[in-house]
């Protein structure tokens, strides 16, 4: 009987090792361990054994059952693993094929640049002020120290709606509105659409965008203007950027300056972006003219301030190497998707 048991064990283990699917395994389990299984049948014959033999054979039989059960489990694990591997093999996809999710849309580069500027100034405690595009001549010129028939009006080819209403040629009227209705300390930027009577070409558009800034407080110095613009240039054009101020004239600031930034294309050694100059003009700035403060009921003997204005299109074109302003307003999807 002992021999019988051992031969069953040997035979079963061989078959288990060869089992090729779970169904066969299940059949083997029934064939050996089932109610009518071989091992069970043999154990049924235990009664014929002598009392001395019975515990020995019993123990052996239990050991063999245990080892068969273990064998079945490990064969099952083996088969499951094989099966899974086969399935995985069959499920191979070509991961180099293109993705299917609808692509997100892109922000227009003008918005991106204005957002960068807004973020920079929000961080410095500036509010974002807005105002109408169709504006009073008074807010657009007269309050800015440019009376009617002032020669400075020639420099800006303004669209007129009527004698007293214009399409704002800059966002400065927003500064006027803000100063008229707020008291210092004032720190604002004024982004928005502005209009000048230029025909459309590679470097001009009758509609374009500006971001102007205004700070009015006690003891604001020209050094504060220089420092603010220096930090601005670093934020927009990179850490290595430097600025250069050239004296200029604007009726609404005194002293006034035109501001150049070191060329981001060549770091001042001269390239296509700066037309060999090494510097690129990016904005106009100055200390708020006392006449402007007075007009807004702010006492220039107590308060001082600075203001600046940036043309968004020019900076956007410079930053991204866009060589024709018309691209910004033409909206070719192949252009838009690049940003």
């Amino acid at each position: 009987m002992k021999q019988q048991l051992e031969s069953i064990q040997k035979q079963a283990m061989e078959k288990l090792a060869q089992a090729s699917d779970l169904k066969e395994l299940e059949e083997l389990k029934v064939a050996y361990l089932g109610k009518k299984g071989e091992l069970t049948q043999i154990l049924k014959g235990m009664g014929t054994l002598s009392p001395q033999e019975r515990p020995i054979i019993g123990q052996l039989a239990n050991e063999i059952r245990g080892s068969l059960e273990e064998g079945i489990l490990s064969a099952k694990n083996r088969l499951t693993r094989e099966l899974r591997n086969e399935r995985l093999k069959a499920e191979v996809i070509d991961v180099t094929m293109p993705g299917k999710m609808r692509p997100v849309g892109k922000k227009h580069p003008l918005t991106t640049v204005m957002d960068e500027m807004k973020d920079f100034f929000l961080g410095l405690g500036y509010e974002i002020a807005e105002g109408p595009e169709i504006e009073l001549d008074y807010n657009s010129f007269e309050a800015l120290n440019i009376p009617k028939n002032h020669p400075a009006r020639d420099a800006q080819d303004t669209f007129y709606i009527s004698e007293n209403v214009v399409l704002r040629p800059h966002t400065s009227p927003v500064q006027i509105r803000h100063m008229m209705s707020n008291t210092p300390p004032i720190r604002i930027i004024c982004p928005g659409r502005v209009y000048r009577s230029d025909t459309v070409d590679a470097t001009h558009s009758p509609v374009f965008h500006q971001v102007e800034g205004l700070v009015v407080d006690k003891g604001v110095t020209m050094g504060d203007l220089v420092g603010t613009l220096q930090a601005f240039a670093k934020a927009i054009f990179g850490e290595n950027s430097r600025i250069r101020l050239r004296p200029h004239h604007f009726p609404f600031t005194e002293p006034s300056a035109e501001v150049d930034v070191s060329c981001w294309g060549c770091d001042c050694s001269g390239c296509r972006i700066c037309k060999g100059e090494g510097w690129v003009e990016i904005l106009g700035a100055g200390m708020v003219h006392p006449n402007v403060l007075r007009e807004c009921k702010i006492d220039p003997d107590i308060y001082s301030g600075f203001a600046f204005g940036v043309g968004v299109e020019r900076i956007t074109m410079g930053k991204y190497g866009i060589d024709d302003m018309r691209l910004l307003f033409e909206n070719d999807v192949r252009f838009l998707k690049q940003f």
């Binding site: 692509p103 918005t111 410095l124 028939n149 220089v226 005194e254 002293p255």
Partner: protein, 799 residues
Amino acid sequence: MKAPIKWLKDYVNINVSIKEYIDAMTMSGSKVEGIEDMAGGIENVVVGKIISLEKHPNADKLVVCKVDVGTEVLQVVTGAPNVKEGDYIPLAKVGAKLPGGEIKASKLRGVESYGMMCSIDELNLTKDYLPDAPDDGVYIFNGTPELGADVKDVLDLDKVVEFEITSNRPDCLSVIGLARETAATLGQDFTERKITVKEEAGGDVNELISIEIQNPELCSRYAARVVKDIKIEPSPAWMQRRLAAAGMRPINNIVDITNYVMLEYGQPLHAFDLEKIQGSKIVVRTAKEEEVIRTLDGQDRTLDSEMLVICDENCPVAVAGVMGGENSEVTDDTRVLLLESANFKGSSVRITGKKMGLRSEAAIRFEKGLDIENTIPAINRCAELIELLGAGKVVKGIADCNCKPYEERVMKLEPDRINSFLGTEISLDEMVRILNSLSFKVDTNNMTVIPPSFRNDITQFADLCEEVARFYGYNNIKSSLLSGKESTQGKKTYKQKMEDVIRYTMMSCGLNEIYTLSFASPKVYDRINIPEDHYLRNAVVISNPLGEDFSLMRTTTLPDMLKVISTNTNRNIPEAALFELAYVYFPVEGEILADERSTLTIGMYGKTSDFFVLKGAMEELLSAMGIKEYEFRPEQNAQSFHPGRTAKLFIRNKDNEMVYAAILGEVHPEVAENFECPKRTYIAMADVQVLIDASSVEKQYKQLPKFPAITRDLAVVVKDEVYVGQLMDLIEQKGGEYLEEVSLFDVYKGEQVADSMKSVAFALSFRAQERTLTDEDVNIAMERILKNLEKTFDAQLRA
């Protein structure tokens, strides 16, 4: 203002290279717009004398010359028709450089030639500069210049710097003004020139002319001189060249002298034929309405009472500062001259010039306001030049009517305040040095400063700060960052935040942002099927537009979006999804300014776009903006849209009203055709302010459900014209307290469904918050729903 360097050097020593000079001037505030080197590209071109001239042995049109250039005699072959023995000509020797290239020794039809005789074209010069040059052929020098001398010196070829002069510095519209700035910039002295007028004609000017100013507020000073024995002839070459270099065409000695003084002194002058001035009298007054003058350009000009005119006893003889009259014009027959040097009010000259459409070099200077102390030096300089050129004999004295004698402005000098305004630590000595270099008089005992008469722009503290800062160097100011100032909070307004939400939602929906211009053409309304008298046609009109197509401020963004779609379609781009956030503009009755309404415009076409994609984008936006109650109503009457594929969006606002917020749909095929857009083009336009007013960013957590939901499907057959939205509304209304969600999962037409009917299938989900629902609960609700669908829409349960 074009300033020839040699002319500047009459008044200031320029001891640096031209590059250093223009950089220094730019950094002190005189922006250089360009530099013209008249001698640019010319090298080794010298004066030569033709000592013999023979026919070329092998060519009829060529001659062989021997040219003496001082140190040697060269053989030169030329085809120029105008040269003869004894002529002095510019010769480009072998190795010479011309703007057209380098000269090499060559053989012309077998004869050696060692150089080229030059025309003015080859020297890159014009007849304005050298009026005696022939139209065709080699330039021939007047007189006998030194042989071998460099033509750049002989012809006075100069470098000309063009400065941008800002409107506050009319004094710099002159050589003297720029020389003063140059002196201050380079730390050199400005050389004052003494003017000497011999007054050889004797007599007394006041016996020949009297001056009366009737409008002293428009003309503060009028000075005149008389010159007899006038000889009109060309001015000398040096004067012609300077004028040409500065951009003015030489005419004759008298015109050239007045222009020369205007360029040098910045004071425009005018010359009258005194014998044509009736009554020996000059009256400066405003014109009478409808008074007429024929100006020098031969046009009859009707004047009005705002215009200032110069009159004789009877009638106007010039429009002040703008143009002279034909009736007093200086001609070749003129014998006696009246010279005018006056100070007219800038705005008056500007307005008059504008009305007449005239803007001369003189007017440009008057407009900006002139130095009243410059009137006399300028007229004296003019007299001096007339004597120098022998153009006439000057009568003794000046008739000078000065209504507003100049008073110096005494200003406070506050060095500490200047430093705290600039953020600098400039010493008083340095400030005094700077101000003195700019001709300001500084008194450090009384701490006062007096600007010179030509600096009308210096009126207050900030103006002094600028002068100090300019020459201290803007870039020497130490930067600071508002340190120690009261802090402020940087923030966006609610509207600005919501606009960000709109942009980001649109981009998440796959839409690309666009920017279009704000103008519209009056013709565009027909193209989008807008009827006559529609409110959209009432637009803000630009009085000086770039053209009719850009003459209105847009009242709708639809045409601009369609144009962009058309552009993309025409470039064979198969699909696009776009949005713009921009304003439209409506005139408001009784208001001066317009109503500017922020508008969101969506446009899409191509295979991934249809009405429901568009609607989905709107729904995402409503969700992102926290707008919970809304309704899409079918819209059949929007003229620009497909009547069966368009909806209007209504939302519940803060006043608990359902208000119009947007229109969305397929563009009307006619409109799509008008713009060459794809047939299926989808557009939405939303009023952003209405959306923002109804929006909310407040969020409140609702507990997740604890008990399971029971779901049921419901399919009903209804007539085609019944809207799914109506069915859903009714289901929600009648669903009872446990109905959690209704969603559409199928609309079917075809077999098993009668014609003109459709089968609509919904998935309904029921749930109670406090217990597990039973089938019984749900059955009751389902029956109620079905009964109501049957009653209201004649719906039949689909088996």
